[in-house]
């Protein structure tokens, strides 16, 4: 498997709004987090949903975001996080995280 990102690496979720079946929640688009783990390679749901093969398969990551980076008015502890599964083609390299 050739994964572009490695655990611990800061990544940003693409700010895109394509039509169709997409499994990247709106609330996380444009946000920056850190790769928590590589989950493996999976068929792309964006084509699978329409009866296509889902190929080429895509690396899937769990990305950890600080809640105060996701919601500017987040009420909670400073270290609270949300982990989300995101396919590689939705991620780009980022600074910090």
């Amino acid at each position: 498997m050739s994964a572009r990102f490695t655990p611990g690496q800061p990544v940003r979720v693409r700010r895109a709004d394509p039509p169709g079946h997409v499994r990247t929640p709106h609330y996380i688009r444009g946000k920056t987090g850190v790769v928590e783990r590589i989950c493996g390679e999976f068929a792309n749901p964006e084509s699978l949903a329409y009866g296509l093969s889902g190929e080429p398969v895509r690396p899937l990551y769990r990305v950890r975001f600080r809640q105060d980076a996701v919601w500017p008015d987040y009420v909670g502890a400073r270290n609270d996080t949300v982990d989300i599964e995101i396919y590689e083609h939705w991620l780009e390299p980022a600074e910090g995280g």
């Binding site: 929640p25 999976f42 769990r62 009420v75 909670g76 502890a77 609270d80 982990d83 989300i84 599964e85």
Partner: protein, 212 residues
């Protein structure tokens, strides 16, 4: 006149004939139509469908509770489970089908909470069917937006020095929370421990409790 007696409304009559008044929506109707076509074409039988539904309904949080109880009593098993949740379940003879199970551990510094904001992804193979509230728009939107307020409504107070870690199951993984083993359970058997590893504690909205 004599005919009218037979035709007055029987809405409240307990002896009225049972009528199927369900108005099937588009998707329910399509599901039935596709099922009938597949049965007709011999792809699978009507009994295959029935048996699959029966098997789905038979899964319950008892499977997850067995996993938790074993992890509480066997540190080596816990390590293997956290490294590969699906393999850990299979080790106990629990079939997880195609599920990629990720087990996340509650500690003295981390409390985990599971949600699926996009739909209602749920570790059905180890917890059975999800509760209605898990599928509600309210839980799905608020668990990720204000998890501490949601936890408080479930009666779970998480101190500020404990990180709340929400897991949004958006794709191919399914999550199970490994709660902390409560104090006062020293020397308990795995069966006793499994009894307090409740469904909600494995979703992360509560913690296991020992009732005196």
């Amino acid at each position: 006149m004599h005919g009218d007696d037979l035709h007055h409304h029987h809405d409240e009559d307990p002896h009225a004939p049972i009528e199927n008044k369900d108005d099937l929506g588009h998707y329910a109707l399509m599901t039935l139509a596709v099922r009938d076509l597949l049965v007709e074409k011999g792809v699978f039988s009507a009994d295959d469908v029935r048996a699959t539904v029966e098997a789905m309904d038979a899964r319950s949080p008892a499977q997850g509770a067995r996993i938790v109880a074993r992890a509480w009593t066997d540190p080596n098993y816990k390590a293997r489970l956290l490294a590969d949740g699906s393999a850990g379940a299979k080790e106990l003879g629990i079939d997880v089908g195609p599920t990629h199970l990720v087990v996340v551990e509650n500690t003295d510094s981390v409390h985990n909470l599971i949600v699926c904001t996009l739909c209602s992804c749920y570790p059905r193979w180890v917890l059975g069917l999800p509760p209605d509230w898990y599928k509600s728009r309210s839980y799905r939107s608020r668990a990720v937006r204000e998890p501490r307020a949601v936890l408080a409504e479930f009666g779970t107070a998480v101190p500020d020095d404990v990180t709340v870690r929400v897991h949004d199951s958006t794709a191919d993984m399914r999550y199970l929370v490994l709660p902390r083993r409560p104090q006062g359970t020293e020397g308990w058997s795995e069966d006793q421990l499994a009894a307090i590893a409740t469904r909600d504690s494995m979703i992360g909205v509560t913690v296991p409790k020992v009732t005196a």
